[in-house]
Symmetry: C2
């Protein structure tokens, strides 16, 4: 488990790295009349990186520490690697909020909304202006600057890794794994848009597709990549049990075995809490996914398990443009009474049990101490609320 | 100068590399119900990469060949590096077209427009549908898929370079230079949006800012990076005249000296041809930038050099939402009669003369043969129409 000082250290280091990697390179010149707007984008880059729980960075550091123990002279470099994963997450979220038209992120205005507001102030327009065309224009510029901020943060995350690999004791495969994570998340975002188009009259396919997409869009960077990168930095190839490097693909990928299940359980829990969570604990009102008409595993299970009247209602109400408060209430009740919520609970606790098993096998294969193994279990447990494990 | 076979070879190699780098990685699984949409995005990735003149790839290969001569066993790897620059350009254009609301690119629907249309077909909606909300939805999904395609292509371009550096004879600094190019272009796109907000009553600042932004948004990946990467792949550090590596920044950067001027001249010529070009040669009607109200160096110069009546007219008409055909005609006449067009011509021919001088110095410093030097001059000349050199 990461030490308590790690979270402030991660936050501090992220701010410093983002500042460096979003700055104009040495020897270049930004014209004075453009610098207020570029400064606004840089500042938003720092702000958008604030406020996360740093679960991904902590998982990377925890698996590294569990393998490497106290023998490490390399931990500050591994810290940078952990920060790079967090910066990549921010890049992905900035683009995701534009794609999903989300105005809020971590309780604050999302990046493109904040950029539109800041630009309105800089240029004397605002959303309060009477001219709708000016407002639409500013909104569009906000999205434009948000796209570029996401691109800058994505490049920054790779730049951080590229600078770090030259300093790491074990660097083989790290940049490649980091780029693979980028690719998987980007494919996952496309698949997530595709899932929204799976017909509701085939709930079995919807459940299968949703669960598969969790591996791409969530587990990839939340759990699989942090575990893979932490292992590689500790000099361990995540694949074991293969006889030769050329057969590496045939072995068991330890990071995949733990990470794909943990990441899937994490996303299932996130979707479940959106329906049954306490608003003050999850930091937003429940039912948000239902209002948005999101195709979740819960919905797919309810479409399979509910009685005919409820199934027909669900199909109709999720095909509509919007759902009101009464709909949210009735849908939540159907999710509960059909057994879909219980099924999600069972899915999550089965996955968590599998994760425990995979950690045990990994700990044996890597000859971890019991303390080290327990620290990995504790860190992984942070991804799933206690009541759902 | 690149050999005639290079262009088909570049096209062929780009298609193959994009196909590989946009595919699901080995051992992963895309759920069947999502695969038609992902396939559409992959196909669009190939299509968006078609049709360029490959000037950037050819410049990279030309400077490499000029330094390396016939001694190269490495040319197929350098070819991949050249392709990576082209793939990055496509990534940037896909995002740029979303930001600029551009429906066309290289005479075809731009990526996000094509993706919206393809998705409409897949899911049975289309722009012809009567429901405006469905159309707006599809358009927004098109932008969402376009953002992700740009991200995928950007990651692919870095992935290509990362695979190539391990095979190159001289790889030092190459990935770093490629990531710097990414960062410079991304900053340049932000600055380009900022230039649109420079007040028209300060045309001197507008001209200065526009010219500075050309270095960021155009020269960076069009000329400076291809020259830098080609030199590095040939084992040459672009900085000469410094005594020690720690003073590298103090020497003359040959790629910068040639590239920043050539790229600036290229962009000035592009803006000038938009006003005075023959529509059939530039592949689009003239006056497009004027209709869009783009802040160009031509406009800044005209605002400085025209008489008071014309200046006031320009300030008023460029502050308006739209400009019609009569405006385009009058503005074009003012650009001409104020001497702004002549000034752009003089700027371009001065820059071209400086480029020639910098090539000469570089050829001497690197002890190039006259043939090699001439091939560099010929390749650089492709960036500026003959009538403007």
């Amino acid at each position: 488990m990461t030490i308590p000082e790690d979270i402030p250290a991660i936050n501090h280091r992220i701010e410093s790295l983002v500042g460096t990697h979003l700055a104009a390179p040495a020897g270049t010149h930004i014209p004075q009349s453009c610098s207020p707007i570029y400064r606004t984008v840089q500042d938003q880059g720092i702000i958008s990186n604030e406020g996360g729980k740093r679960l991904r960075a902590r998982l990377l550091l925890t698996i590294y520490d569990a393998i490497q123990g106290d023998r490490s002279n390399d931990r500050s470099n591994v810290m940078d690697l952990a920060c790079a994963v967090e910066v990549f997450q921010t890049a992905a979220l900035v683009h995701d909020d534009i794609i999903d038209n989300s105005d809020l992120r971590r309780g604050r205005p999302s990046a493109h909304v904040a950029l539109a507001a800041a630009l309105g102030q800089l240029t004397g327009h605002s959303d309060d202006d009477a001219l709708p065309s000016a407002v639409g224009h500013i909104t569009h510029i906000g999205a434009g600057l948000g796209i570029m901020l996401g691109d800058l943060l994505s490049t920054a995350s790779i730049g951080i890794v590229n600078e770090t690999v030259s300093k790491l004791e074990h660097s083989e495969g790290i940049l490649q794994a980091f780029l693979r994570m980028h690719r998987e998340v980007e494919i996952g975002q496309v698949l997530d848009l595709a899932v929204e188009r799976v017909p509701l009259d085939e709930p079995g396919r919807l459940a299968e597709a949703s669960l598969a997409v969790f591996r791409w869009k969530t587990a990839s960077y939340t759990t699989v990549a942090p575990l893979t990168l932490g292992m590689l930095a500790a000099g361990i190839q995540p694949c074991i049990g293969s006889d030769s490097p050329s057969h590496a693909g045939e072995g068991t990928d330890m990071a995949e075995a733990i990470g794909s299940r943990l990441g899937t359980a994490f996303q299932l829990a996130d979707d479940l809490l959106d329906v049954i969570g306490e608003p003050e604990r999850i930091g937003k009102p429940t039912g948000g996914d239902i209002r948005e008409g999101k195709r979740t595993v819960l919905l797919a299970d309810a479409l399979t398990m509910a009685d005919r009247t409820d199934r027909e209602y669900l199909a109709k109400v999720f095909a509509a443009e919007t759902r009101d408060g009464n709909d949210v209430e009735r849908i939540t009740r159907i999710f509960d009474e059909s057994g879909a919520i219980d099924k999600s609970r069972r899915r999550i606790s089965q996955l968590w049990s599998d994760v425990r098993g995979s950690i045990e096998l990994t700990a044996q294969a890597l000859r971890m101490s019991d303390d080290s193994r327990d620290s990995v279990v504790r860190c992984c447990s942070l991804f799933i609320p206690q009541t759902l494990r």
